[in-house]
């Protein structure tokens, strides 16, 4: 007679958005294993119809508070492509800088506030204020610094203001550039201390190779803002063919759509990016990767957190390089735009279709718009990283549960929660549920 367990985690905590884990093992056989999404639907794609393409960035950044800048950047890229606007080199560089800070900020939040408590054996950062005061202070300091840099660059991190279709409505002054540089350099000691912290963590041992998907490119830069879509199984497609990657399909036991590429599921995010683009990382980031043995293909999803730490170094040094370059060359302030809703038609508009593909902290994010001659949005589609990862998480759970059945229910539950958290899921973002399994689910709104 095998073991029977039932794990039912309602309102999974320390993830962004609302999700439930359900695992059902009877007599030693895994009967059911799912990650339910119970986020209230928000209808962004539907609501965008009829609005000006110049409002798209403002609205879609509100899809997610954590990766508001990534949504902005994907939205702007799609919008500009749709109306046929080509951004300047300076604008593109500043956008890359913004994305670096976004990824750095989000990864720090994830490593310290969402993952570290599990590995330090507590329920949240709150008890750590007593036991690990220096660690909590460091985390808050790092987080605040990213925020301060964003305040200077785009007005604020949560829902950036000055980064719009056409460029930037406000450009940092030389003093601002200097300030951002010193803020970033000031983060280095705290980031080095983070390495020591993470080295003390014991991540669960678990391997499951899957297909890894991320942006890829031909140049030497670690692709985050622009590129084709590539996979470790050898796929490479231009971003406008994103639907061939995300590949929605209906499974026989469910009317909800799933996604897959060459295998049952695929993974996006920091680990996928490392697996595809390791050679393009900043040298210091590579050294960090070496310390953790991450300089090879990594198939333990729990190590996504370590991949994020490696990316923190890459993004920090890459951002410093950009700001130092601007300090040398200076910015062209004639590029500062007054755009609003393009009332003065300073930016020419035409009917068209555009796709934005950006590496958000959690993985490849797509925005797709179709606009008419007046720049009115006719159709909108957003495919978010977490949606692409959900199916992969479920496959991980199906492999993991039988491997750890001898443990207590609490331990199994914790291992599963940690697995889901390792993917850093951002469920608010799931404006478009790609692969939620509704098997045996009577009440999809949750309890």
């Amino acid at each position: 007679m095998g073991k029977s367990i039932r794990v039912d985690v309602e309102y999974l905590t320390r993830v962004e958005g609302h999700g439930n884990i359900v695992v059902d093992v009877r007599d030693g056989t895994l009967r059911e294993c799912r990650l339910e999404i119970i986020e209230s639907p928000r209808f962004f794609e539907g609501m965008l119809r009829g609005r000006s393409i110049f409002e798209a960035q403002h609205i879609t950044s509100r899809i997610c508070g954590i990766c508001a800048c990534a949504h902005s950047l994907a939205s702007i890229q799609a919008a500009e492509e749709a109306i046929g606007f080509v951004p300047s080199e300076q604008t593109v560089k500043l956008r890359k800088f913004l994305l670096d800070i976004e990824i750095l900020d989000s990864h720090i939040l994830h490593i310290y506030f969402l993952v570290a408590p599990d590995l330090l054996g507590v329920k949240s950062f709150v008890p750590l204020v007593e036991t690990h005061n220096a660690v909590v202070r460091r985390a808050l300091r790092l987080k605040k610094t990213c925020n301060d840099v964003c305040d200077i660059l785009v007005g604020r991190h949560v829902h950036p203001i000055s980064c719009t279709v056409g460029g930037f409505t406000k450009l940092p002054r030389p003093g601002d550039l200097e300030k951002m540089r010193s803020l970033l350099l000031g983060m280095i000691p705290d980031l080095e201390a983070t390495v020591d912290l993470v080295r003390g963590f014991r991540f669960p041992e678990f391997e499951r190779e899957t297909e890894y998907v991320a942006l890829v490119s031909d140049d030497d830069e670690y692709p985050l803002l622009m590129g084709d879509i590539g996979s470790t199984d050898g796929v490479r497609l231009p971003k406008k063919e994103y639907r061939k990657i995300t590949n929605e399909f209906v499974v026989p036991h469910s009317t909800a759509k799933h996604t897959r590429l060459n295998r049952d599921s695929y993974m996006v995010g920091a680990l996928a990016r490392l697996n595809l683009n390791f050679s393009k990382l900043h040298p210091r980031a590579k050294e960090i990767a070496d310390l953790f043995g991450m300089n090879r293909k990594v198939t333990n999803p729990y190590l996504n957190t370590v991949a994020q730490l490696v990316e923190c170094f890459h993004c920090l040094y890459h951002a410093v390089d950009i700001v130092e370059e601007f300090l040398k060359t200076g910015l062209n302030y004639d590029e500062e735009i007054v755009v609003g809703l393009n009332e003065k038609q300073r930016i020419p508009v035409r009917a068209g279709s555009g796709v934005g593909a950006v590496e958000a902290p959690r993985g490849t994010l797509y925005h797709h718009y179709e606009v008419d001659d007046y720049g009115r949005i006719m159709h909108a589609n957003c495919v978010i990283p977490t949606g692409q990862n959900l199916r992969n998480i479920e496959y991980d759970m199906r492999k993991l549960v039988p491997e750890i059945l001898d443990r207590s229910e609490e331990d199994i539950q914790l291992a599963l929660e940690m697995l889901v958290r390792a993917y850093d899921p951002c469920i608010s973002c799931s404006t478009h549920f790609l692969n939620v399994t509704f098997v045996g689910r009577d009440n999809p709104e949750g309890s």
Partner: protein, 259 residues
Amino acid sequence: MMKVPKVAFFDFTCCEGCQLQVTNLGEELLELLKFLDLVEFRETMSERWDGIYDIAVIEGSITTPHDVERIRRIRQRSRTLIAYGSCATIGGVNGMKNAFDLEEILQYVYGEGARFFTTLPTRPVHEVVPVEYFVHGCPVYQPEFLEVLKCALLGIPYHVPDVAVCVECKFNENVCFYERGLTCLGPITRAGCNSWCINNGNICYGCRGMVSNPNERGFLEVLERYGVRVEFLVRRMDMYNACRILKGAGKRHGEEHTR
């Protein structure tokens, strides 16, 4: 010793960016924690609390039957409720869907999966349960949040500024966007954000809701002077303030929209 108030954060239909504004306070957050006992904050905490909340901070709009039940339960257990961020105080961007046929928009976004979802017309929190304090903004402006929190902890009222964003904008010496050929909702939108967007070269989108007594004639004169159609402005306002016009519309179409 004075009892430390139990404070909890809850998110409904929203992006959770306003909660994130709390972690963005930096080390100041630790100072704040000396004055309150943070008992629930799902985005960053696994702890649960089953007693009475002295202060419940509510982020997000009410958009599903589940939201309605949950906010009522929380209200019953809370001494003070703070509506936190535009989604909670005025419906915010979630309100835009009210301008669509809900059946149609469900179908558009979820296709054949639409039947798994139930949605109601978007409502701000105070249209479902009584609310004591309001922190407007998308996202909330941290200095204002700290001010409101102080008032809530002391049990004294907080008065939301009821003058136009233009007042703060003038103090900040920004050049008016109407002068620069654009349109801006500053003249009819509540101040309190320190004209955040305009300071950064963008227009006001009206995220804090309208002032209670806008200078209608003055604003119409402005629109006339710059040749802006009123309908154009109303459309812009619907981005955050659609719940205002459609108040009661949900009831006309039937309180509940279930499939």
